[in-house]
Symmetry: C2
Subunit: 225 residues, 2 copies
């Protein structure tokens, strides 16, 4: 087993599972982290646990942080509906500062583990237009992270790794299949039901379904409608 | 009441209470946020609530996030003792990525509130040598925050305000007294007891006590030893 450690943020969805597979294929000992943040689609946490085990992560941690206390998103406020058609601009499913919060907790764990790499499955091609998925955001985060921490202050170098950032959804799927990902275990839907079945209508479902079509791969997603 | 809103991170200690007083004196409508993160000195949360009310904050939010899950600090791991003498380098009371995590949750709340200013009472003069208190860290955080969020993406500008960063502890105390802060309500000690009494020996107590001496002000701190 390599001594190179990485913390991998996983949501149980297609992208982050592929990012985990890519980190493993680079020889990292992987420590996965998921967030129980009050999301509608809490079933994704079960998927995260399953995919984490399936991909050989050494440890999986679930952090409890109720972002409903803050609200401001269709994913954390039941009074805001998840849109089932495409919308303009930053959609209401955007959770304020979510990736920044999640990366920051992952950063703390990376310091404790002595891991210098943090993998996050953000993507700037087939994505929902969230500001915290853009390459310049990630670059700025990495700069900040190195100033924030012991490892950076003592001459080390933390890296925020985004292996999916320039890939289309179809390319992500092809990459993952080549690495043995079972996408049947993953849940991407913003309003997945308790059985992990998807609506097929939300932004996340639409991007995922089109990805399988464009990759020429049978879609393993279970839909409830 | 001004419509200019600010989120102010408060710990119940001397520094953050003074930062709150300064934000109020600039006319901000203040929304205070504290973190129940599994710290030893949990009594500081009571102090945060009291000082928040005393200084006229409009709302005080306590976020629950158990950083003991991650550990790695004398403040979040009972097996690591709080040092009672000065140490070299970054001390064991450093909590990995703490300010980054706290600022990120504050950032999320600021987005929801429509606040463009976040106040944090970090100080780079009489401080413990934590990497996440340095001016270049704060500047990098602000750059990242503007790329991370809706407000930044839509042409607004978020500011991370650090009014104490260049002040000595004595200057902070003088500033706060001029603005009506009751330091008797504040708790700085890393191992304060349940009554809010301080040890007088930890790094935080030493910096605080010296601050009152240098300011020529009677120290209102209640010590248990």
């Amino acid at each position: 087993m390599s001594s190179k450690k990485a913390v991998v943020l996983i949501s149980g969805g297609l992208d982050s599972t592929t990012a985990l597979a890519m980190a493993r294929s680079e020889g990292y000992a992987c420590y996965t982290i998921s967030f129980d943040y009050g999301q509608r689609h809490k079933v994704e946490l079960l998927a995260a646990e399953l995919t984490s085990k399936a991909m050989g992560a050494l440890e999986h941690k679930v952090i409890h942080l109720d972002l409903r206390t803050i609200g401001g998103s269709a994913l954390t406020d039941d009074s805001i509906a998840v849109p089932e058609q495409e919308t303009q601009g930053i959609p209401v499913t955007y959770v304020p500062a979510r990736n920044t919060v999640f990366l920051s907790i992952a950063l703390g764990w990376a310091e404790v583990l002595g891991a210098e790499d943090i993998f996050i499955g953000v993507n700037a091609v087939d994505f929902s237009g969230y500001p915290d998925c853009r390459p310049d955001y990630i670059a700025a985060y990495e700069t900040m992270a190195n100033l924030a921490t012991r490892v950076g202050a003592e001459g080390g170098k933390l890296r925020i790794r985004t292996p999916l950032i320039d890939l289309s959804k179809a390319q992500i799927i092809q990459k993952g299949l080549a690495l043995g990902v079972d996408y049947g275990l993953t849940v991407s839907c913003y309003q997945a039901n308790i059985k992990g079945e998807a609506c097929g209508k939300c932004d996340s479902c639409r991007l995922r379904r089109t990805g399988f079509e464009q990759a020429g791969i049978a879609d393993p997603t279970r839909y409830f409608s």
